[in-house]
């Protein structure tokens, strides 16, 4: 007689797997941390009919020098409207931060703190073209590592799209 494992793992039995959704949509916030990444995020936003992704930028909402510090700003949507950082993070299941090797990343610690406070999983993705120096990459890593529970160094931006599809964004 066939064992339970042999029968259950056959191709024939695969036909009887329940064909119903096994997860609810996750809210994923994709945040550009620097100017080149903002362009990447804008292209991404137009690429596909994302159902669970919100594309944001840390630049549009960053306070101008001399302005009183507040955690309510720091984020903007792609149209340039300021968004409340804590509100955005509160509603997220996952935050994906996009950075470019060597670019200044002023907002990362504020966003990272907010994610830590709200217990939201963070992934950082550094776009590091072949022309980027090790020193530039080191600077970015030093800033991102304390705030990233997963870090990816990718050579091309098409990876981000594949990653978001894989995460059901």
């Amino acid at each position: 007689m066939q064992s339970e494992s042999a029968r259950a793992s056959s191709a024939v039995e695969a036909r009887f797997r329940i064909n119903a959704p096994n997860s609810r949509p996750r809210a994923i916030k994709i945040i550009a941390l620097d100017r080149p990444s903002e362009a990447v995020v804008k292209r991404l936003a137009q690429q596909s009919a994302w159902s669970n992704a919100t594309f944001l930028t840390a630049l549009a909402g960053a306070p101008t020098p001399g302005e009183r510090f507040s955690v309510t700003g720091w984020l903007g949507d792609l149209a340039g409207h300021t968004k409340d950082l804590l509100n955005e993070i509160s509603g997220a299941d996952q935050v994906v931060m996009i950075a470019t090797a060597g670019e200044p990343l002023e907002a990362v610690s504020i966003i990272g703190e907010a994610c830590s406070l709200k217990r939201v999983m963070t992934t950082a993705l550094i776009l590091s073209p072949a022309s980027a120096s090790d020193e530039a990459l080191s600077r970015s890593l030093a800033q991102l590592r304390p705030w990233s529970l997963m870090l990816v160094v990718a050579s091309a931006e098409d990876y981000i799209s594949d990653m978001l599809v894989a995460l059901r964004a």
């Binding site: 191709a11 997860s23 999983m121 529970l149 990816v152 990718a154």
Partner: protein, 428 residues
């Protein structure tokens, strides 16, 4: 989640498929050299990339790998007589040389030249590091011979086994780059398995079951770094190498031999899991070899006379529910290799990746799929050779290192991640 068409692209590796063409760009392990131990020994059947083949070592020591079936009436040449520099079909005496060329058809007059018109499809077969390697792609694209370090060190420094895994190659290979499962599935084995225990690295592992991962593209595939806190604000890194399409090398522990795998499609529902252990500086000890033969580390015990693991789906992997409850093993299955294989086979022959819910720690898997899809498309559209073909991509090492907190591990451990003759693996 992976779209169905992408899943099909990567999991289907038979003749004429894009995924099959990818595998046919590389030298792949076909048989253990010990399967053809001497000249004129019995031939061995082998199925690779959905093709049934027969391998033999002729009277002069030449290796042949060709269509398993006689061109006359379709008899399996596994029954063949390996004699006088050729393999002879026992049915009507047709004989083939190591290139698959028919050299005798006894029923036809020699003068007719009929046998010259008969040739079985064949592939080159070379011996290197105790493994017989084949290249199944177009002859004009045949790359340099494989340069994996385990296959180039002296024989006494290296040990290789293979086993049948009853699942598609991709879900097996993905287990090899899924570093986050180790802290759960294999947690009981780090301190007890003779090929793992005793390393200082194990303390870092067991102290911190939630490492932070970094995935970085390499020329041939990926570096997958798992980072844990070490002393004085430094990080302890375990860096796994994945080289396309199906090679992984696990980060070392102490002075133990280094382990790694190839996952080679037999057909779309089965694959060969090749498991190697080697040390770059010294011969393996008798105790280490005995442990490997006894199925410890990443090796298995076998059903006698076969490459099928003794614990397999037909005996429910000898699952021990009492041991599982008592914490002896996490899944109830004994041994690192079968802990992985049992779960990967339970997914079914080809897992339906449209139903997955990947999380960010799966970025190694996501990136590997991304690179595989990109390589298949470049191969199909532009005839571009995929990463991993070049010998330089194969001369790599995994590493376990303690590094300052602000350095990219790829740069800080640059020398440790490539083969350096006369230099030991970087290990903790």
């Amino acid at each position: 989640m992976l779209r169905k068409e992408q899943n099909d692209l990567l999991t289907q590796t038979g003749p004429g498929t894009p995924g099959g063409r990818l595998f046919r760009s590389y030298w792949i392990p076909a048989l253990l050299a010990s399967e053809l131990p001497e000249n004129d020994c019995p031939p061995a059947r082998v199925k690779l990339l959905s093709e049934r083949l027969i391998a033999f070592r002729d009277t002069q020591g030449r290796l042949g790998l060709m269509d398993e079936f006689c061109a006359h009436r379709g008899v399996s040449l596994w029954f063949g007589r390996n004699e006088d520099s050729g393999l002879r079909c026992p049915y009507h005496g047709w004989k083939y040389d190591h290139t698959g060329q028919c050299v005798e058809v006894p029923s036809e007059p020699d003068e007719s030249g009929f046998c010259k018109k008969i040739k079985l499809k064949s592939y080159p077969l070379v011996e290197r590091g105790g493994v017989l390697w084949t290249y199944m792609g177009p002859p004009d694209k045949q790359p340099e011979l494989p340069e994996w370090e385990f296959a180039t060190v002296p024989a006494e420094q290296s040990f290789m086994t293979k086993r049948i895994q009853e699942s598609n190659w991709l879900q097996a290979m993905e287990g090899g780059i899924d570093s986050s499962h180790v802290s759960f599935l294999h947690r009981g084995d780090l301190n007890s398995d003779p090929l793992f225990k005793g390393a200082k690295a194990n303390q870092y592992n067991l102290r911190d079951s939630r490492p932070v991962f970094e995935v970085v593209e390499s020329a041939g595939g990926l570096y997958i770094g798992a980072r844990r806190d070490a002393e004085n604000g430094n990080y302890y890194w375990r860096i796994t190498q994945w080289v396309m399409p199906a090679f992984t090398m696990i980060a070392p522990r102490g002075n133990h031999p280094i382990h790694g795998h190839f996952w080679i499609p037999i057909d779309d529902h089965n694959c060969w899991t090749w498991s190697f252990d080697y040390h770059s500086m010294r011969a393996l000890t008798q105790a280490e070899v005995d442990a490997m033969r006894d199925g410890k580390g990443i090796h298995v015990k076998y059903v006698p006379g076969t490459f099928r693991p003794l614990a397999n789906k037909d005996n429910d992997y000898l699952i021990d529910r009492v041991g599982q409850k008592a914490g002896k093993t996490f899944s109830g299955v004994e041994g690192i290799a079968m802990q992985d294989a049992s779960l990967q086979e339970s997914m079914g022959p080809i897992v339906d990746r449209t139903k997955e819910n990947l999380v960010s720690t799966d970025n190694g898997i996501i990136m590997a799929r991304h690179r595989l899809v990109r390589a298949v498309k470049a191969l199909m559209d532009k005839d571009a050779p995929p990463p991993g073909v070049e010998a330089a991509h194969q001369r790599v090492r995994s590493a376990a290192v303690v590094l300052p907190p602000d350095r990219p591990f790829v740069e800080a451990a640059k020398d440790a991640l490539i083969v350096q003759a006369g230099v030991a693996h970087a290990s903790v």
